[in-house]
């Protein structure tokens, strides 16, 4: 075996793959969040549509998006490989255990939390990515559009009106609930995952670790999932004229 395969098949090497893909996904979250914050603007979706157009037509972004899809798959496959290996390491279980005495629940349930996120990603991609690329699409038994995604024209340029697709999807309560629950899972996954990713790479130092812990807990654990969760809630309330 070459040194590369030896490294990647070792327990530490596999964790490095988890960490690099996981932290890359974390960096993507920031970009995704900043763009999607356009949904909160009161301009009937113009900023959001223009942002979506940019994201789907810029060659650099397109290349990065393939890296992103690969990362999700590699992260999930490696999670499965590691989880099975870890379970096999203790064939006979304890009769009585008190794990809460020595560790946090999130750190012990990364696989379950990750699985919820994976299911979410599939549904999320089906609703938006698939619709955007291969619309028309049927949501809840209703056809979104007759021929293709509706278009809007800004400054004489017609572009896909993804804002309409988004507001349509988030007009359903069950869909909003699904998003909020998934963001809770994401929060728990990242409260542990962000810090753990740095530990796996050996990046631990008394000068920087408190900052990493702070960012992981409040940035990735609270602020980012909360803002993502606020989007479907906001649109639901807006579409149904409940608050706005």
């Amino acid at each position: 075996m070459s040194w590369v395969t030896t490294t990647l098949s070792s327990s530490l090497g596999r964790k490095v793959v988890m960490s690099l893909t996981g932290l890359f996904l974390c960096s993507f979250l920031i970009v995704h969040l900043v763009g999607n914050l356009q949904l909160f603007k009161g301009d009937e979706g113009q900023s959001f549509n223009e942002y979506s157009y940019f994201m789907t037509h810029n060659p650099v972004i397109k290349t990065i998006s393939y890296l992103l899809y690969t990362s999700i798959i590699v992260h999930a496959v490696m999670a499965l490989v590691l989880t099975r290996h870890n379970q096999a390491s203790r064939p006979v279980k304890y009769a009585y255990q008190k794990p809460e005495a020595n560790s946090h629940w999130t750190s012990r349930n990364m696989g379950i939390l990750g699985t919820i996120i994976l299911i979410f990603i599939v549904i999320h991609m089906r609703t938006f990515w698939y619709t955007m690329h291969f619309g028309p699409v049927v949501l809840n038994g209703e056809t979104v559009t007759a021929g293709s995604i509706p278009e809007v024209t800004y400054d004489g340029e017609p572009i896909k009106n993804l804002y309409a697709v988004t507001t349509f999807a988030f007009s359903y309560l069950w869909y909003v609930v699904l998003y909020v629950v998934s963001m809770v899972a994401l929060s728990f996954h990242l409260v542990h995952g962000f810090q753990s990713g740095f530990q796996t790479l050996g990046l631990r130092h008394k000068k920087y670790s408190p900052l990493i812990e702070f960012l992981g807990t409040y940035g990735f654990g609270v602020v980012i999932p909360a803002l993502f969760a606020a989007m479907p809630v906001f649109i639901y309330l807006k579409v149904h004229h409940i608050l706005f």
């Binding site: 327990s11 390491s89 203790r90 064939p91 304890y94 794990p99 530990q199 796996t200």
Partner: protein, 250 residues
């Protein structure tokens, strides 16, 4: 004190084991947990039953032999202690105490509460040493080592190889043990010379023994009788990754 015990009994590695109930009365709160087991075993011998086999040696918290998984935690409810240093005053009159052996694929049960921890020895044999014999100890201050570094090495060197880290970990990972054994040498000049090969070999052996990977739950460090820090696991990750990327070893 009156104590009810549920103890794992297993004849040998081939036969399946089971939990067996025992009752003890007049247990002194000043007894150590192992002394309480001595009393139980004496009663069992008087009754003509097989005493419970358990590992112990120094009974002063330095050898690491006394492996017992007590009420869901290695070495029982106190932190920073071994089973021999645990006292019955940590329990209440009338308590039921569940006692199991360490559970890990790499630590097979030999009998009752005794497990085979030779996997740890093989990890050490894979590289946890300095291979050149340099004769007797050098004079003090012959090799200058900053106080901070000496302390760091000493913190790691406190590991007594008890295996509580493996027992506590949800993945039965031996990362804390291996990290301690790598750290204690890597930070010192004598050990630094072979640090790359050591990290590569010891991790390979750790994996070959069937221990799990690290999920950074931190359970090991909390349950470690010597409170070995997770800093050492970060160093092990750095050492291993650095060695794989930069060493000349195949």
């Amino acid at each position: 004190m009156n104590i009810a015990l549920k103890v794992w009994r297993q004849k040998n590695s081939q036969t399946p084991g089971k939990m067996v109930d025992y009752k003890l009365s007049d247990v002194s709160p000043d007894m150590s947990f192992l002394e309480m087991f001595d009393v139980l075993n004496e009663e069992l011998s008087h009754k003509g039953e097989e005493p419970v086999a358990f590992d112990h040696d120094c009974r002063e918290g330095i050898c690491g032999m006394c492996s017992m998984y007590i009420n869901g935690r290695p070495h029982g409810p106190e932190t920073g202690t071994t089973t021999c240093q645990l006292h019955m005053r940590s329990f209440n009159d009338g308590d039921t105490i569940v006692v199991e052996p360490w559970r890990a694929r790499a630590f097979p049960v030999i009998k009752d509460l005794v497990v085979d921890r030779e996997a740890f020895d093989r990890i050490i044999q894979a590289g946890g040493y300095v291979s050149v014999n340099t004769g007797s100890a050098p004079d003090a201050n012959d090799i200058l080592i900053p106080r901070e570094i000496a302390d760091e090495a000493m913190d790691a060197a406190q590991c007594i190889g008890c295996g509580a880290c493996v027992a506590a970990c949800k993945n039965a990972s031996a990362m804390l043990f291996t990290a301690a054994k790598i750290s204690q040498l890597a930070v010192l000049p004598q050990g630094h010379a072979e640090h790359q090969l050591r990290a590569e070999r010891m991790v390979a052996q750790m994996d070959a023994e069937g221990f799990g990977a690290c999920s950074f739950t931190g359970a090991c460090s909390v349950e470690c009788p010597k409170s070995i820090s997770l800093d050492h696991i970060a160093r092990l990750n750095r050492e291993y990754l650095g060695a794989k990327l930069a060493s000349n070893n195949a």
